[in-house]
Subunit: 209 residues, 2 copies
């Protein structure tokens, strides 16, 4: 296929509270979805044992990161507990230009920023069945302090109130159902007639075997 | 649940050439999809042995049908080989008001008319892998005269050229894949955040067990 005929990739942005199961859904769904790149974030936080630059994160020092901010090389970024986190534009745009779809996992503020810059991004919200259930899950993990749990719940509340800004809402009640719906949404979005290339339509119209 | 809280049903319109597999896809997919009503057309053509009013078609005489046209009781209609075929509005709108999704199978002209009247209708186009393959299938059925085959192919060509008017394109190459994609599109459309009711958002925000 001619490079120029490649369809441009679709950008999917997934948002949802800590503990709602975003990572679990993604890890369960992506192996069965071809041609989808999961975007790796950049951060200034220290590298933990076993972490590799370009796998868990792109690890940069503050000077480098602030240079990227100044040169507008990030789709979005945030300062979180003293460290920067952000999404480098170039790998996302390159993957899309090559025809790969890209998945970002972002907080609400970052998701809004990406939608502002790339309006055709498809926005997915992962909702808990209830904040009660989310709290139960957060406590079940046993990793967060009470203060941190309360902070996560407050953020979840704000994000849920913004759910109608998103294109799709996936309620993660039964994980298997949420994974199935996530996959269905990606398949459906890929089947949008607006993504058809002239070569696709020419194929449909072909009269010779 | 309070009647007033029911989400309104979604209208799906499926279009595609004769022989492309619309009926086969629908019959394979619908049993696994809850809450979907397949809309029955009205016609003035004679009832064939075994056909029941309200099952294959609503059978009306010409005077009755023309009265429905005059009273604007049809979402769309066409005069085809001397008989009227059309979609009564009332059962479609009632089902949607009751919260059921509705599926219509329509020719391009009727599909456009429905989209004009109900802009939120979700438009699905079933495309053949090629006109060559469609012709092979039509000949394989062995039911149509050469003239009829040529007429169907000419209509298919016109419809394919309009594929970008639709929301989704499903290529019916491998039937199982087409059925899966059809089902995925319906599931995805049902998960649109715009369909969320206030009660759904209240559920997500609920803090008590």
């Amino acid at each position: 296929m001619d490079e120029a005929q490649h369809r441009k990739g679709i950008l999917f942005v997934m948002t949802g509270a800590s503990g709602v199961g975003k990572d679990t859904i993604r890890r369960a769904a992506l192996p069965a979805i071809d041609g989808m790149v999961y975007s790796i974030s950049a951060t200034t936080r220290g590298r933990r044992p076993g972490e590799v630059h370009g796998e868990q994160y792109y690890f940069y020092d503050r000077t480098t990161f602030e240079g990227m901010i100044e040169r507008d090389e990030l789709l979005e970024y945030a300062d979180y507990v003293g460290d920067y986190y952000g999404t480098p534009s170039l790998p996302v745009r390159q993957a899309m230009d090559d025809g790969s779809d890209v998945l970002l996992e972002l907080e609400l503020v970052g998701a809004r920023e990406v939608k502002r810059k790339i309006p055709e991004a498809v926005m997915l919200f992962i909702a808990p069945p209830s904040l009660y259930e989310l709290e139960r899950r957060l406590r079940g993990r046993g990793t967060d302090s009470e203060a941190k749990i309360q902070k996560r719940l407050a953020r979840a509340r704000d994000e849920i109130r913004a759910v109608r800004e998103f294109d799709y809402a996936i309620v993660n009640d039964v994980l298997e159902d949420a994974v199935g719906l996530f996959t269905s949404i990606i398949r459906a979005e890929r089947a949008r007639a607006s993504h058809l290339q002239d070569s696709d339509v020419a194929d449909f119209l072909r009269e010779q075997g």
